[in-house]
Symmetry: C2
Subunit: 369 residues, 2 copies
């Protein structure tokens, strides 16, 4: 993988960049939809591509448990398995072990946990996670980390940062064999000095990119922005920066200004399935009675497949009827909204008008999400 | 609507025909997938078309209850509402009132019933059903009928046939104003003389086509074939014959030989959602462990989108993971299987080799469905 900064903003830390992988080139800042189990929920790979998606995130934890990484390797790797020919990033499972599985036991070697699917016992450590991600064959892979909750105390987070650093070193040794780009994950909770320590430790090892982990775990917005700002100071400006699990359109715009290049979040896809649609005028809850007879599209002027072919009235009807097509048409719109937003952000950086874009965006009366 | 017989088989009553509507031309025998609530469950209109679908059936009963026929009319009719530009046939609701709703009360004017959605009370009669179907704007519409269960006694069915005939006459008077093709529905249960009576009564009124109703309500296969054969004798050879709610590939092949031109059934779509896939070698249950590592498509040589891009291993994984994409990819395959089967049947009639085709089909070791 290659990363290049193409342009930097004058008034903030935002930058336009490009990532080149064996599966294609893309520009940053970029949003990566989540394909948890090897499928972006609700859409086909072709639809995702048509909606502007350029890179997909898949979850190591989920694919390890089902169908198993060896099976995917035998079929020819994740790209072929899920019929996605573009770049893929896999996470390391650290966050899922923390958020989904029960009865975790953390040791210096890794984490023993129970599967959220069937309660069976499993072990994930740095070597194992590298083995899994090698089998999956993503273009960009992540180090194994311990994700600490927002309320974790300083001493706990300190020990955790040291453990995450040790695991990162082991991942780097293993990962070198893979020929995949490997990103280190900065942890450290809400403590600036621990974020600094974590960042410096990882940077001294030299990763292909850096991710900010543990930042959609319940902390408030201001704390998150403070942590991002602090951490970014200690990360090298020539490497891609990935903010994991974030976020709303507003979160993305603010984070781009701080220099973040890559994002992933379940919001556009999950909200779509719940009938919540993103528009430039705020959220639209499709089940509302006011849309029953509404022959207009979700958003006038939107170029997505859904808005080009379907009325709010039909989408409301599909949602109330629990038709499968409802999830899909809603997801197509929300993905398009996100990729279009990123496109506009990139264009604004290119044209030196990100501040104006941001101003106009907020003026568009976006409801808080 | 125009109907023309293009060719008749020498050895049986099968025929190749064409139906021309304002929304396009199609050849018969044809299979119509069911788009109950204005959507073929699991696929988009574009995918259905790519899978070979040429005409869609939608349910008057469902669309009347939700979202309401007036709403659809206000949006511009069902074609526009559901984004399907090809021909549409709507049924009359007679079967759904019989099978889905509770506390039916039948009077000479129509049926009072409770909605299966919310228990609210509704009334459907011939005038109302014609009004609804006019609002929906399908190319082919059906008369309102009483559907009798397979075990109904002779006297009950006799009275029902008379009522259905009376309603058909009222529908014809109303329907003339619509400019839509109107089909009469022959009832009469399993009693040959009542089927004859029903058929003759309808034929004397002169409909654009004739349907055989009340034939997927629990009767056995031999009874059904006997009833079809008997009834067909009394229906005009120059009009299209539609066998409602039937059926399996075997049912379709046998019915084509008796002269049936049109079919509808939920089997391909419903089975797809349950992971049951049609192949020329019988049913394939995708969740079976034997497909876990199987990198081959559902069926070698199948030209559908699913078989062109996905392995059994991936489809099994999606099904077990309850991914929305599972329903869709399975549905695409099953729809393609059905439309491809109809294509082969039509070609066999054209080439005067339907008997050989049928022989080879059964030799393909299709499991009984």
């Amino acid at each position: 993988m290659e990363f290049r900064v193409l342009k930097r903003c004058k008034s903030n830390n935002a930058r336009l960049g490009e990532i080149v992988t064996d599966h294609g080139r893309l520009e940053t800042p970029v949003f990566m939809p989540v394909g948890t189990s090897g499928a972006i929920k609700g859409v086909s790979p072709g639809e995702a591509k048509d909606a502007g998606v350029e890179i997909v995130l898949a979850n190591t934890y989920h694919l390890y448990l089902r169908p198993g990484h060896k099976l995917i390797e035998n079929i020819g790797g994740l790209h072929r398995f899920m019929n996605w020919s573009g770049p893929i990033l896999t996470d390391s499972g650290g966050y899922q072990v923390y958020s989904l599985s029960k009865l975790r036991t953390i040791s210096p070697d890794g984490v023993t946990f129970r599967s959220h699917l069937d309660g069976s016992t499993h072990f994930l450590g740095p070597e194992k996670v590298m083995e899994i991600q090698r089998s999956l064959g993503a273009d960009i892979i992540m180090t194994f980390d311990e994700c600490t909750p927002s309320g974790a105390e300083h001493d706990y987070v300190l020990a955790s940062v040291k453990l995450t650093e040790q695991w990162a070193r082991q991942c780097l040794e293993e990962g070198k064999k893979n020929g995949q780009a490997l990103f280190g994950i900065v942890q450290g909770g809400v403590y600036p000095e621990l974020r600094e320590m974590s960042a410096k430790g990882l940077v001294s090892m030299g990763f292909d990119g850096y991710a900010l982990g543990g930042l959609s775990v319940g902390e408030d917005k201001h704390t998150r922005e403070r942590v991002i700002k602090t951490t970014m100071e200690f990360l090298p400006k020539e490497k891609p920066m990935y903010l994991m699990g974030v976020g709303t359109p507003e979160d993305i715009i603010e984070s781009v200004k701080m220099g973040v290049d890559m994002f992933d979040c379940v919001l556009p896809t999950r909200n779509a399935r719940n009938g919540m649609l993103f528009t430039n005028k705020g959220k639209l809850v499709i089940k509302n009675a006011r849309y029953a007879q509404d022959s207009s599209p979700i958003e006038d002027g939107c170029g997505c497949y859904t808005c080009s072919h379907y009325s709010r009235a039909y989408l409301r009807h599909l949602f109330l009827s629990k038709e499968i097509l409802s999830f899909r048409l809603n997801t197509i719109h929300n993905l398009y909204y996100y990729t279009h937003l990123m496109n506009e952000i990139r264009q604004a950086i290119r044209d030196d008008r990100l501040a104006e874009f941001s101003h106009d965006f907020y003026r568009g009366e976006i409801e808080s999400l």
